[in-house]
Structures are given as C-alpha cells and as structure tokens.
C-alpha cells in the first residue's frame, strides 16, 4: 500500500516537475520586464511572414510615421524591422552540400535581437561583407523537428551554422522565372540564433538592408515591415496601443501571446490534475481496503482499548494518524525517487532534443511549494481514504469483538 502511494507520488513528482520546469522556462523567457512593456506595430493588411512580396500593405509604416511614433511620450524606444525590396535567394554549403533556397532578408536593430552572445560592435559592422546575420532559433527547431524528420534529411545543429558564410543572391529566385535585374552576390556570416527575429528568412542589421536597398535595388528606405515598441511602463501598454491603432496600425502586445501560452499551460495543468485525481482515487481505494482488512484483524485490540477507556475519537485518530504517517513516508520516498530519476531523464531528454535550441537547461524544476503540496496531497489521500475505515473501527462494539 505504501509502495502504491509512493509510486503514485513518484509519477506525480516527475510529471509535475517537468510541467513546472517547462512552464518556468517559458515564463522566464517571456516574463522579462521588457517583454511586458512590448508591443508590435504592423501596418494593417500586412500579413507578415506570408507577405512574400506579393501582398501590398494598405497603410505604410514610413520613416516619417516611425518618427511620429517616437514622439509619443509614453514610448521608450521604437525598433523597426525592414526588408529588402526585391527577390533574393540564399546559397549555403552545409554538410558537404550546397543548398539554395528562396529567402526573405530582414533588417533589425541590435536591441531587438535580444542576443547577448553578439556584441553591439559586431552588429555595427553593417557596411562590410560578410554582413553579420542571425537566424531564428525557432526556424532551426522547425526544420529539425518537422522538415528534416519527414524527409530523412540530416539534423542541423547550432554549431553547423555559427560562423558559416552564406551567399545572398539578389534578384534570383528558385521559384520564379522572372528576374528584375542582374544577379548580385553578397556575403553574410551567421553570428547566432535569436528567438526574437522573423521566423522564415535571414536577419541582417537594419542599416545593411537599407544599404542593399539603396545600392543594389535603387530604392530608398520608404517603409518598414513592422516595429517593436517598448513603452516606459507596463501600465502604458493600453494607452499606447490605442494611440497606435488610431494612427491606423494593427497592434499586438506580448501580453496577448503570453496569454496564449498560459492558456496552453492551463490545459496541461488541468489534465495533470485530472491524472492526479485518478491516481489519488486508485491508491486511495487500495488504502481503504488495506485499512478495512487491518481493522477486522485488530478487532481484539480495538475492543481491549475500548474497555480500557479509549473513546471512539481516540480509536479513529489512531488509524488516521497511521494513515498520515503512511502518507508522509510514501510521499517522501516517492519524491526522493522522483528527483533521483529525473536526473537521468533530464539527460535523456536533453540528448533526445539535442538539436532543439529553444529548450530549458533542466527540464525538471522542483520548487519547495511543489514538494510540500505533493506531501500534503499524499497525506490527504491517505487520510481521506482511511477515514471511513477509521470511523468503522471507532464504532465497533467491544463486547461482540471480545466474545469472538
């Protein structure tokens, strides 16, 4: 019985540790102060990633408008993203092969990368080839998890990419026949992976994109794709959001995306709780039947204690005390084993997901609150399911028991 409860607590320890660990990781990632003060401004009708040069935005995010937005007193900084005004594809040699694919080129200011591995000086080298470049962390994960797996392509690691030179072929496409101008070859160098940049494409310094547009595509920087806006205080989010909407933009706050993530966690929490309830009932029923057995075996002892003046309450408490003892011992065993087992599980998970960049260092996080609630949970389970047997024991008639 103690074993069954221990096993239950062990499973619960591992599962809730994992749930808590992953949740913690995501909330940590998004809970940075800056993110709570962040919103993204997009021209209405611009479908971001899918724009692929075909969709023409209804409202333009022009440099003049960016300046205007910067004037809003509640705003701390505006970080616009630009893109090249034309078609481009990328050539990269990876694992002994040369790959070529169409790709979008984005430009982002240093502050929006959120990538401490890259210094501001490196990003400031926007004038000289190879241009500094970053790739979305999520893109690599997406490739490894879905595309590579589905097509039996080799998995790509961070190390495969960092320091790699990429050739940018302007005005060339692997999809479209049309060519708007002569092919121009440019070099870029991957410096790292950022969780914040656009998913599909290569992100260079915004000034590099501006320069490419000007030098090779003969277009001045007349509009931006979107902009990340940081307000001075989280309270300003709604005011600023309203002001920007009045200017004709679509505004999404990081808070909204955070809410989506939290919604997902609510579902996992709920299903975990349901699982715990089932575990509780199963181990509880086992406790109940064991206690009922115990009590029918201990009838003589109960009768003796009653003749010696023990009250019904005291008899019941004896069994409840035993139940809580079982609960605490079982939970301690389960928790300790759970924590011990999660170490190899953590290594296994890390190896299994070795190519995925957006993963926590430790998958299992055990907070004191979690451990205390697991102990309480086990004690409560034991006591609740021992309660009816204990009350039964308390009400036994000593005379009938002694007559046996």
């Amino acid at each position: 019985m103690t074993l069954a409860l221990s096993l239950g607590v062990l499973l619960m320890t591992i599962l809730s540790g994992l749930n808590f660990g992953v949740k913690n990781y995501f909330l940590q990632q998004s809970n940075q102060d800056k993110i709570l003060r962040e919103l993204t401004v997009t021209p209405l009708g611009n479908k971001l990633e899918l724009s692929l040069a075909t969709l023409i935005p209804k409202a333009q995010l022009t440099p003049q408008l960016i300046e205007k937005i910067k004037q809003i007193p509640e705003i701390e900084e505006v970080l616009p993203t630009n893109s090249i005004n034309g078609i481009s594809s990328l050539q990269v040699s990876l694992l002994g092969q040369i790959f070529q694919t169409d790709a979008l080129l984005y430009g982002a200011p240093y502050q929006s990368l959120n990538l401490p591995e890259i210094s501001q000086e490196e990003w400031a080298q926007y004038q000289n080839e190879p241009y500094p470049a970053v790739i979305s962390t999520k893109l690599l994960d997406l490739y490894n998890l879905t595309f590579a797996n589905a097509n039996n392509f080799p998995q790509i690691t961070k190390e495969n990419f960092i320091g790699k030179e990429i050739t940018i072929l302007l005005n060339q496409s692997t999809f479209f026949e049309t060519q708007e101008g002569p092919t121009i070859k440019l070099k870029a160098k991957i410096l790292g992976f950022s969780p914040n940049v656009k998913l599909i494409g290569l992100t260079l310094p915004d000034k590099t994109i501006e320069k490419i547009n000007q030098d090779f595509l003969n277009k001045a920087q007349d509009n931006y794709l979107d902009a990340i806006v940081h307000v001075k205080k989280p309270e300003y989010l709604s005011i600023v959001s309203e002001k920007l909407q009045n200017l004709g933009f679509q505004v999404t706050t990081a808070e909204q995306s955070l809410k989506t993530v939290e919604g997902i966690f609510k579902v996992t929490d709920l299903s975990l709780n349901f699982f715990f309830l089932v575990m509780m009932i199963l181990s509880g029923l086992l406790i109940s039947s064991t206690f009922l057995n115990k009590i029918s075996e201990q009838g003589r002892e109960i009768a003796i204690l009653k003749t010696l003046g023990m009250t019904n309450q005291q008899i019941g408490n004896l069994y409840l005390f035993e139940a809580s003892l079982i609960g605490s011992i079982a939970s301690l065993i389960g928790i300790i084993l759970g924590i011990i087992f999660s170490a190899p599980l953590n290594i296994f998970l890390s190896n299994f997901l070795s190519n995925i960049l957006s993963k926590p260092k430790t998958f299992f996080v055990y907070s004191p609150i979690l451990i205390i609630s697991l102990i309480l949970y086990a004690i409560l389970t034991a006591c609740i399911f021992a309660y009816i047997p204990a009350m039964k024991a308390a009400k036994l008639n000593p005379i009938k028991l002694l007559a046996k």
Binding site: I304, G309, T311, Q314
Partner: protein, 229 residues
C-alpha cells in the same frame, strides 16, 4: 454506605440475525462502595452480560442502570469511555493483554489513554514499578505477554486494572485459564488488594470456594437472579 451501581428491572437481549436471544431479565441489584460480590451460575446464564452492564460497556435493552445515582443513558459515549478508563478496572479470563506491548507498557496503557499529554509522569512510573513489585512480576516487565506464564499474564492484567486507582474492579472468571495453585494465588491477591484499597469488586467464578470469600454471593440462572446470600 455509598451506592455505586444500581440496576433496576434490567433486561438484556441480543439480536442474532432475526432471532432474539434473551440474556438477562428483570435484574434488580445494588452495589455499594467497598463491597466484594461474587456471581456464580451455569454457562450461558448471563454472568458476563451482567458484568458488561455493571462495567458500563453495554446498554440495557430494558430497565435502568444508575452510576452514582445518574442514569447511564444520560451519559455521552465519551463520558462513558472516561468513566471506564478512570473508575473501572477490568480483568478477563483470557487476560486481554496487547501482544505487541511489553508487560510494563500494557500496564501503562490506561494511563496513556487517560492522559492528555500522552506521557507518563515520574510518579505514575513509580506507581507502575510499585505494582510490578507487589504482584511479583518486576523481573518480567520488559517481556511480551507471549513470553510469560498464564499466572504472570493475569498478574499483569490485574496491575493494568489497578493502575488508574479505580473504584470498581470487575473480573470475569479471572482464574478460568489457570491451574489450581496459580488460581489460589491470584484470588488471594485480588481479595487482598481490594480489601487494602477498599475497592468494590465484582467477580464471576465457577469455583464455590472462591465465591464464598465474597461479602455477597449472587447466583443467576437463565438470566434471572435466583439467590442472594
């Protein structure tokens, strides 16, 4: 003389499935403080049933039982348990010691049950040692019931009954499982200790000689008192 227990027109029957088994009918009995009463009668005549009623372990089916003038029906279960624990000592034919506890712990048990702190005080501990000595089992205090003789077990049971300084000692065939020599010792001990401590004692026995030592002999047959002397 102070009256401790009074039974007035008490009947008791047991339900066994659909059957009703009569055990006692229309019993009238007064027990005074310091009295030693023996109950005799054939097997199945209701002696144990009567002891259970006197010991407040069971309720009468009909009639009234009074403890120190109070109708027992008016007491709550807890109050009855406390009276049993503090004022009444029980001794059984098959000793009814707890096998998992040592002799000393068995004797300490009623004190623990009555105590609010779950602890034995030094003076109580001294009293246990004194009783162990008086009953001549001090060398066996650390043994379990299974490791000692029947006579020693019953001595331990007597010590357990006396440890709370009860007013009434109730003994149901205390020598039923003992040989003649040991029986004699135990009975002498019981009479001696009740006299010394002015205890009220009610003892059920089959043995005429034992019964005759009491102040009063009650004979019951088929649930009725047939003779008092």
């Amino acid at each position: 003389m102070t009256e401790l227990i009074e039974l007035s027109e008490v009947s008791k029957h047991y339900h066994l499935g659909k059957d009703i088994i009569p055990a006692l009918s229309n019993i009238n009995l007064k027990i005074n403080k310091g009295e030693i009463i023996s109950i005799i009668g054939p097997s199945g005549s209701g002696k144990s049933t009567l002891l259970h009623l006197i010991g407040l372990m069971d309720h009468a089916s009909k009639g009234e039982v009074f403890y120190k003038g109070h109708n027992v029906k008016k007491f709550t279960k807890n109050e009855l348990a406390h009276i049993r624990g503090e004022k009444i000592g029980f001794i059984f034919q098959d000793f009814n010691l707890l096998n998992d506890l040592t002799i000393k712990d068995n004797i300490a048990l009623p004190l623990l049950i009555n105590s609010k702190t779950n602890k034995i005080s030094p003076s109580q501990n001294q009293k246990i040692d004194q009783l162990l000595n008086q009953l001549n089992i001090s060398d066996r205090f650390n043994h379990r019931p299974k490791q000692v003789s029947g006579g020693q077990k019953q001595r331990a049971a007597i010590a357990r009954a006396l440890i709370t300084n009860p007013e009434i000692l109730i003994a149901d065939e205390p020598t039923g499982n003992l040989d003649d020599f040991t029986s004699q010792q135990i009975i002498n001990l019981l009479y001696k200790m009740s006299k010394e401590q002015q205890l009220t004692m009610i003892i059920v026995t089959h043995d005429k000689k034992i019964a005759e030592k009491a102040d009063k002999i009650i004979e019951i047959k088929k649930g009725k008192i047939t003779k008092t002397s």
